[in-house]
Structures are given as C-alpha cells and as structure tokens.
C-alpha cells in the first residue's frame, strides 16, 4: 500500500482555492448589488415576464412585440391604479424549465414583481405554474397549450390565455366529422403536445362519429422529422384522411415531401396550428391547399377591435402581426384589466380579479373562467388556400373558445380539489 508523502504547502493549491472563493464571492456580490428603485409618486407596477426568446424566436419575438405594444398603449393612456405605469422585467429562459424557475425566483425575490407572465413551452409553463402555487404569486401563462396546465395540474395561482389542446382539437373535430372519411391516420410530434392532441382528436371524433377507424400513426421526433420515410409510411396505410399536429420546420418538410409524393391527393388533411402565420408564412406558395386548420387570418378579419390592433401594430413595427403578437398583446391587456379590477397589486386580490375577468382582445371579448382559469379566447378555423404566392385561410370562421370546453361538472372532475 502506498504511503502518503507529506508535500510542502503548495501555493498553486491555495491559489486555485482562493480563485474559487473569489469567483463565488463575485457572484454573490453581483447579485447583492441589484439596483434598488426608489419609491416615487407614480411607482410603476412591476411585472415579471419569462419566455423562450432564444429557444423559439419565430414565435416569441412577435409575442414580445405584441406585449410591448400593449404596455405602451396602457402607459400612454395613464397606466393603471390611478396613474402608475406598467414596468415589464423581461427575461429569456433559454428554453430550460430549471432556468425559468430560477428566473421566476429572481423576479419575485430581487425585482419585487407583482405577478409573473409568459412562457411558451408546456413543460416550462407547468414548472412556473407550480412555482407560482408554491410561492403564492399570480402567473398568467400566455402560450403553453397543455391541458394539464388548467386541469390535472391546475392551481389557484395559474391562469392561461391561449385555447388549450383540447379546445383546438374540439374545433377541428367539428369539421372532421362533416367529412365522408372513415379511415384516418395520424402524424404528430412525439411529446406531450402531440400525444394529447392526437388522443383528444381520436376520442372526440369517435364519440361524434361512431364507425370511424384509426388505421395507423406516425410519431416523428420533434424537430427531426425524416420527411421521405414518414410520408411513405403514411401513404402505405392508405387512409381516407389524415390528422396532423406537426408544426414549424417538421411541417414544412412534410408538406413539401408529401406534395411531391402525392400523399395529400384525394385525402383531406385536418391540421392543428397550420393556419398560424408563424407556420404558414414560411411555406409561401407551397402552402397545402384545402387543409382544414386552426389559425389566424390576420389580413381578413374586419371586426373593429381587430382593425384597431392591426393598424397600431403595423404602425409600430412595420410588419403584420403573427398569432404570437395577439397572444402577447392580450396577455398584458388582461393583466392591466385585472389590476384595475383588483384595485391592488396584492396577489390574492389579483387572483380573485382574474376569476371571471372580462377583457377585450383583438379576437373580441374574452373571459377568464373561474372554474378552471382558462380564458375563452378562441381560434379561427378554415381551409388553406394560396393567393398571390403565399398561403392564406379561406372559408374561415371564428370558433369562440367558450363553446369548445367540456361541461362544468366534467371540468370539476378534471381539476384537483382546491
């Protein structure tokens, strides 16, 4: 057995340890020296905002422009609570739930925000929602689609704006049931969003139209869909119709490959999210004509509330809004409305204000339901067409979210007891 030789005290060793200590101290000091905002007459209401700006810029950058516009409008009109401006502390979560939770703590502990808002990915929304419940702070989830956010993992402090997976599937099933198709195949990204969307679509369509059969499914990895083989595997099933939940780059290559190989000929495709400008615009003149989709035909909506929003948005940013823009805009309009209704920034008052809160969105009046904290914001359902070399929606209608939620007694069984 080797014996240990006593070595002389090595300065190198000491120095590295000292360096470690210095590095740690620097971090501690940096965090401790955060700017302290002095209380003045019109003390701003601080709102913490978290989203995946670097992880998913295609959706979150228009979203950020949307809330910037809302905040500017609110502050130009005199702010909230008798003249206090909104101040948004916005942070990138790097698309990591652990980072989002740290940032949430930072925003609450160091920045003293009154509430939290934002997030795109479902798992990050769930992580921040759980943090909100644990720390008793309000969290307004803007974009995550997962049903569990308001149902199985729902809690007192979490509200959600966008129509959930269930709601959007219910809207599409209504159209799908009108088709003569009997044999369906499905393709969806292999994670919770795709799984729950496919699950709901199958369940709801079978309920509505007994005799429907699902002959096969494809589960490509999100972001890594291998288009040629996936399209060929779907074609081999010889279905009458297809349900699709892929989006973004996966959707683009599947559309291109499927069109070339004739997968969509003589088949109707019912497709989640495809009509959203974020995903439709990159397809340009290759947008898949005739698909039944949920989306946002921004260039054709003529309601006064949308017109005002559209003009303001184009004036401010010099480009048309995406769906993310509407989500960001409406989230912050709702927050301002809740602050006014609560007449306070206290969390419990804000939670009560949000329950049943009615607010005007570019899509019309919406309400945050007290029963499950889901807003009744809807989506546009229509068919894809190509006009002037780019994809657009035709034969569309606005599906009000309130009409596509289960009955109240069912919703009560879906949420944990408070």
């Amino acid at each position: 057995m080797p014996t240990l030789k006593k070595s002389a005290p090595s300065l190198g060793f000491v120095a590295t340890q000292a360096l470690a200590a210095v590095a740690l101290a620097a971090v501690a000091l940096g965090a401790a020296m955060l700017p302290i905002v002095p209380a003045v007459a019109a003390e701003p209401v601080r709102i913490g905002e978290i989203n995946s700006y670097t992880g998913l810029p295609a959706f979150t950058v228009p979203y950020r422009q949307g809330w910037q516009l809302a905040v500017e409008e609110i502050n130009a009109a005199g702010g909230v609570l008798g003249g206090r401006p909104l101040e948004v502390i916005s942070r990138d979560d790097g698309a990591k739930p652990g980072d989002a939770v740290r940032i949430a703590s930072e925003l609450v502990a160091a920045e003293k925000v009154a509430l939290l808002a934002g997030t795109f990915f479902s798992h990050i929304g769930l992580a921040v929602g759980d943090f909100a419940q644990h720390n008793k702070i309000l969290f307004v989830a803007a974009e995550p689609l997962s049903d569990s956010l308001t149902w199985s993992k729902g809690n007192r402090y979490t509200f959600r704006l966008r129509p959930s997976n269930y709601m959007q599937c219910a809207m599409l099933v209504e159209e799908a049931a009108k088709l003569p198709a009997r044999r369906w195949a499905t393709v969806a990204p292999n994670y919770e969003y795709g799984q729950s969307a496919t699950g709901w679509f199958k369940t709801l369509l079978k309920e509505r139209k007994p005799g429907t059969s699902f002959v096969g499914e494809q589960w490509p990895t999100q972001g890594k869909l291998e288009a040629g083989t996936t399209v060929q595997a779907l074609a081999a099933l010889e279905p009458d119709a297809l349900f699709n939940a892929t989006f973004a780059a996966d959707l683009a290559k599947m559309v291109r490959e499927g069109t070339q190989r004739g997968l969509f000929e003589g088949r109707t495709v019912v497709s989640l999210l495809t009509g959203e400008p974020e995903y439709l615009d990159p397809l340009k003149d290759e947008a898949p004509v005739g698909w039944i989709v949920t989306g946002y035909p921004w260039d054709q909506i003529t309601t006064p509330e949308h017109r005002v929003f559209l003009e303001a948005y184009r004036r401010r940013f010099g480009e048309p809004p995406r769906l993310g823009s509407v989500v960001g805009y409406t989230t912050f309009k709702a927050i301002a409305a809740a602050l006014e209704k609560a007449e306070s920034t206290a969390t419990e008052r804000l939670v009560e204000a949000f329950e049943g809160l009615e607010v005007m969105s570019p899509f019309g009046a919406i309400r945050f339901r007290a029963i499950d904290h889901q807003s009744t914001m809807g989506a546009y359902v229509g068919r894809i067409a190509v006009k002037d070399g780019r994809g657009t929606m035709v034969d569309w209608r606005y599906a009000d979210g309130a009409d596509y939620l289960p009955a109240d007694d069912i919703v009560r069984t879906l949420r944990p007891a408070p």
Binding site: L11, T16, L34, T229
Partner: protein, 620 residues
Amino acid sequence: MSMAHLVVQLLSGLAAGSVLFLIASGLSIIFGVTRIVNFAHGSFTMLGAYLTIDLIGRLPDGGFGFWAAVGLAALVAGGLGVLLERLVLRRLYRSPELFPLLATFGVVLIVQDAALALWGPEDLLGPRAPGLTGTVLVLGLRFPVYDLFLIALGPVVLGLLRLVFHGTGWGTRVRAATEDPEMAAALGIDQHRLFTGVLFLGSALAGLGGALQVPREAITLQMDMATVIEAFVVVVIGGMGSLGGAFVAALLIGVLQAFGILAFPRIALVLVFLVMAVVLMLRPNGLFGRAEPAAGSHQALSQGSFAPPGPLARLVGGIALGLLALVPLAANDYSLIVLTEIFILALFAASLHFLLAVGGMVSFGHAAFFGLGAYGAALAVTGLDAAMLPALALAPLAAGLGAALVGALCVRLGGVYLAMLTLAFAQILWSIVFQWSSVTGGDNGLLGIWPEPWASGRAAYYWLTLVLCAGAMLGLRRLVAAPFGYALRASRDSALRAAAVGLPVDRLRWLAFALAGALAGLAGGLQAFAKGSVFPALLAVPTSVDGLVMVLLGGLEALSGPLVGAAVFHGLETEAMRGTGHWRLLLGAVILAMVLVCPSGLSGVVGRVAARLTGSARRP
C-alpha cells in the same frame, strides 16, 4: 404493405442516409486527423444552409444560380473552418485532449446568435433544386428525383475522398500525420498546414451537406446541435477515421430508421442511439475501426497526481468554507438561489472531473446520472410520499445503481468510444423517461417536489446544499488520496502495468464509474428540491455538455477546478441572461477568450503561475 411501398421506403431511407453521410464524412476527416471533438461542425452545416438560401436570392434565377450558391456556401463554410483552425484550434494542439471541445462550444454559441441576427427568427424554406424537382415512378409509386440524386451523390463523394486520401501527395501526408504525428513531423511534414487543409475540407463538406438540405428541409436555428450529434454517432458507429465505415453507418441508420418507424412509430426518438449501443457492445471500435493503442500510450487527459492539500491549503479552504457558511447572514434571497445552484453544479462537475481526471474515462452522458438522481428523489416524493431526507438519500442510490449497470457495459471500452457509449445509454435512459408518461410524467415532468418546511427557506436550503455538496466533495478528495485513488490513477496511467502488478483494472474503473454516478445523483436530488420540479431535459445532452464545459473551464489539473468552472460558467450564464438577449454571443466570446488565455483551464493557469512564483515546479 405492398412490395412497392417497401422498395420506396428503402430508397427513402437511403436518401436520408446519404445526406447524413455527407455531413458525417467531414466530421470523420477532422476527427480522424486532429482528434478534435468539433461541436462547431453542426454550426457550419447550418451556416451552409442559410448561406445557400441567402445567395440564391442574390444570384440570377435558374439552375446556375442555385448550384453556384451551393458551391459558394460550401467554400465559405470551408473558409470559416480555416479561420477556426488558424485563430483558435492551432493554439490548443498542446492542451489536454478534449480541451478544444470547449473552444468549439464557444463557437457554437456565437454562431447561434449571429445566425439569428443575420437571417431572423423565422424558419426558411428554400427553393427546390432546378432540374431535379420532378418525380419518377418506382413500381408505380412516385419518388422524388432529388432523392435519387442524393442516393447517387453519397458514393461519388466517398470515391472522391478516397481518391484525395490515397491518390494525392497531400492525402498521403495527412494519413501519415494521422498514423504517427511524431514521425511525420520528423520527416519534415508541416502538421499545422495539413490541419488547416483538413479543417477546410471537413468544414466545406459540412457546408455542402447543409446546402444540399435546402431543397428538402426548412432551415432553422436549431439545425446545428441536431446535426452534430447524429454525425458523431455515424462516425463512431463506422469506426473512427474510416470513411467507408461512416458511409456504411450512415446508410444503415437511414434504412433502419425507415423500416423502424413502420413497426414502431415512436422509435425515431432513440433509434440511432440504440444502434450505436448495440454496435459498440459487439464491436468496441465501431464497424470498421481499428483497435486504438492500449490506454496509457496515447495523450492522456490528465496525469495529475492530486497530492493531498498541505496545511496552508487546508487553512484557506477552511476559511473559504466558513465564509460561504456566513453568506446567508448578508446576502439577499436571489444570490442564495444562484449560489445554491452553483454548489449543486459544482458537485455534478466534481463527479465528472473525478471520472475524467482521476479515472481517465471521458463521459458524454454524465447527465444521465444527474437526472436519475433527480427522478429518484422526485419519484420517492410523488410515488412513495417519502420525506425530503429519505428522498435525498435515494437519489445517489438510484443514480449509483444506474451507473453501476451502465458502467458494467462501458468501462472496458477506451477513449472516445467509451464516451459515445455513455452518450448512447444516456439517450436511451432519456427516451425512457421521456416516453414513460404514466410514471415519469413524460416531458411534462414531475411537479411539486419542494423541500419540507424546515428546509424551505432560502438560507436553510442553502446550508443544506452547502453541507451535502462540500461534504461529498471533501469525501471525494480523501478518496483520491486513499489507496483506491492511487490504484485508479495507476490504471489510468498504464492499464497494462497496473494489471501486471495485480490491480483489477476493469473493476476499479467500474467502481469509479458507479461512484461518479452516485455523486452526480446526489447533485440531481438537490437540484430536484431546489427547483420543485424535474424534467427529462436533466438527462439530456445539453446537461452533459454543460458539465463538460464546467470541468474543462475549471481545468483538469486541480481538484478545485470543477468548483471554479461551475462558479464561473453558471455565474456568467445567469448574469448574461439577466443582462442581455445576446447572452449566447457574450458567453461564447468569454469562453473563447478564456480558452485562448488559459489553454489548460482556469485553475491550471493559476496553479502554474503560483508554482513559478514560488519556484516549486511541481507539475511536469
């Protein structure tokens, strides 16, 4: 399913494999010659694709414009490869093995931000290839002509590369420098110039691979990492340095993927890693790789002796620990949160450092055990209603058990093959956690894992973390100075001699692997309670990469390296994320600068300077 469908499925798989080969061939050349784990390879693929779309818009419409854009994009990517070699990698050839990985990781971050700034956030769908837009009928089914072109291109590129390496003087010199760098240098071959050429060729192939994706894929900012990992898998399955092997491996993966999804539609998630695990277990050097020289004769990661600290070092360490214990009395909640995270990451990094520097085993999948620990603790809470401390005790147990199983299959492999096999197992574990929704919650994770009331205050949890992490790291330090540590170092430095004196080399390596896994698991358990939730991302590649970055940044030569690395990397990342939307650019630039200024890690350079000052040149 009809015969026609099966044939077309086969062709589709071959086309996919061909594209994979183009990208992997470049990586194989760079890796085979320079032994650099070049993370930036995927970034060059992404740049090649973006540049092609950009150039098509600037060149005249039609066939000439398209193909000129493809060629130019490949040349520009090659030029960037030359820049990378001249400005960065050249300075690192004498650093410890793996160290250039850190520099290329910095480049990845910078390119991500630059691409976003240059081409915007939206996915880009380029035009189809002029002249190749149609389809042909194969047994009555339509098949794209472009895919046929790709199937043909694979063997053509392989043939050209063989010609270059076996039919030209330059290629012969490159092979000579690969086989025996010292002998080649003695014969007057300028290795630096050869490497510049290799980087050009490899990066141009990456760019070409990206450019040829344009007609069939939407180009996104996530392309880089998705590409580089798969390319690496192909290179390793084929056997390092074997172009023919990479070709076979790429086609194998393409075809298996094509038929795999017919039978098991969800298998796409994990198939490449399953293939790699099976291949490496059956053939430890890949399909066509030759046996690596026995461990010990090639450039070692570290030959650190890690002598136990002297009295002065103990004093400084003790004072530092005491000061850290006092921090909650002065600091605010947020700095406690960040420091708690740093302790957790430092323990994670220390366990990886132990494996790398003391055990001589590189792992690209160490996050698996961090995640197993986190899930072990979380499942104990949600499934068994366990209290926090028993749940925390379960974390290292679960991770240690997992590491013992994985280690039993891995430790007999060497070098990069070992690293890639750990990556394969980590990805397989990740996909199990990701898929097994009824137990693990799938990608929505497990929620509500908060500390018990007595530890739920920021300061209380800080102290708990400090005690457990410092305790574990001091224990590790003792172990390194104990007979086990000496025996392990002997197996690291010369496996043959260690075996000859009767040391059970494989068992020592296996024990070290299990121990490192258990400690990473403890860190994972602490992470679960710090965040209140666990997600599959804890086991995923980026977490493993973060661990490696922290270890390399801190330096391999001192046991305090991981602590320095974790503090600098995590502190920098959180502060940069708070301060700027361009945090990746900032982080990448700082990492690059640190690598160039201290090419053996932060603690290494401090140690050397101090040693020079005192005149005690203890290290070689």
